[in-house]
Amino acid sequence: MASAKVFVLRTCDGETFEIDESVAYVSETIKNMIEDGFGHDLIPLPNVSSKILLKVIEYCRKHVSNFESSKKTSNGDEKDKDNDSWKKEKEAVPEVEKDAEEKARVEELKEWETTFIDIDQQVLFDLLQAANYLNIKGLLVMAAEKAASMIRGKTPEQIRETFNIKNDFTPEEYEDIRKKDAMNDFTPEEYEEIRKKIADNHFTPEEYEQIRKENAWAIE
């Protein structure tokens, strides 16, 4: 079982946190630091705030306990131990969990994950950066997937707000991208055809609504 060894982490806002070795090792970065001999004193994490580290530790603890309980079920094997495959990205050739206990564990984990990652956008971005710096693959994947699902349906303007990005296209370049390129949703001819159809009212209400929703930024 896990050794009694304990490490102390210090965040950028000066707070300290004590964690078990097994929990610490979930972070490749911390693991490397410990193995390089930096574990005796405080391990400084100047890039992580206490609020975020709390979340990270929560994740790491869940990871460790999940691994322990998976070892107990008949399907427990080494593959779950590795950081890289804990949050198994959906596989192209899925393994079907036939063992009931294992199934229940997987279900519970999914629910826990959903609740865990249900956080606001700024916390999510901070968590993403922390997971990247601390090299915790499973957490990184979870946060990135959540971020992707959050921005998927946004308009470009909303994206700029979310990521604090400046629109550095000139008005001409912008029009260019919108209309000219074949990679756009509509070629200029198609766009023209659609405008005409709208004018002649050739769309069914559903079609019109569908186009509006899909191309809100193109037409409006």
Binding site: A144, N164, D185
Partner: protein, 423 residues
Amino acid sequence: MAEFTEKITEEEAIPTKNLPEVLIADILSRLPVKSLLKFRCVCKTWCALIADPAFVKEHLNRSLASNSNLSLIFRRCALFSVDLDTCEQRAAVELDHPLKSPHLATEVLGSCNGLLCISNSDEDILLWNPSIRRHHKLPITPIEFPVRFDSPRLIVYGLGYDPTTDDYKLVRVVQFYGDSEYSCDSEVKVYSLRTNSWRRIRDMPYHLSYERGFGVLNNSWRKIRDMPYHLSYKRGYGVLANYALHWVAMRETGRDTASTFIVSFDLQDEYYREIPLPDFVDDEFHMTVGVLGGQLCLLCNFFRVRVEVWVMKEYGVRDSWLKQFSIEQPDVISSFMFVRPICYSKNGDVILDKDSEAPLLLYDSLRERVRNLRIRGAPDRMETEICVGSLVPLNAKDGTEQPAMMKKHRKHKKRRFMEQRAG
């Protein structure tokens, strides 16, 4: 306004209000193509990122590895498509494709990394990426082999990707049948998108099983073991797995007997090989080859009794053949002649094409049961294909030959079993 931080190392990862580009790229690589096309106009950095070949590759790899961004393509003269993940909730819509014509039926010759190869005839073939709406017309290449007026002709195609040259290739195999039932001559040509040209290569020394043939000059039925095969059945396109195309071939094993086997055409070294088959206990079946989740599979059709689906878990390794499941011909579901796996659904069930007609079949792996899968808006008779949404561009050669991209003929000593490519 704050600017983007450039790609930074771990030591410098100060938590900023803005995400570093490497994380942005990670997030974007999980989005569907439609969103990415929209986001090109967010700013110049994003525009460049989304068009960057490395990003396109990462996005594609992620889609393939996670079985996402997939669409079902239905073909019945016109082309229809529906997202795999919502195929039971949403209706299929007709695709507006560059070869669309009221008089001609469009075939799908292959699907690879988001590119579809479509054609209205042997002279009218396109590579088309329906997600980004770009296409490229292939030059016409004649059949050099002298046509014998009365010998039936089989023309089959296969589309695939060559990772050593980062090139998309279309293979055309033309076979003429001689006097003896199993003798044939062939002409094989390979088209490379990178050079935008066809090349004739060594002939295929195998007789392709023609029951999926098309283009027979005389409209006759051919029989094997008293089973008539419908000529309207789908063309025998090459099955893509592990950077190779596969067909079922036949060889004579005695007078009036033949055995079938799988021939592969490696897109990298352009050699033909035979794929070892499992040791079948009962071999009174009709065999076809397919691909499921990027893995080569065999369909063993015990007509009117059951169909077994065998999957080669490790490409090229004979012992890795696994009988994944079998579908009995129950009374509940109407009987079928041919079954072909299309893909895994999002929860691990297997979607299969049955006799090229609606409805599709859904095999529930957990409960080991089959049910019908009806897709609204899909035609009643159709061929089904899978296509991944990708940003893969169709940049064909623009006239300048670049030595770095010339094909390297390498004899592969070791097969690459990882990274299946399909769809």
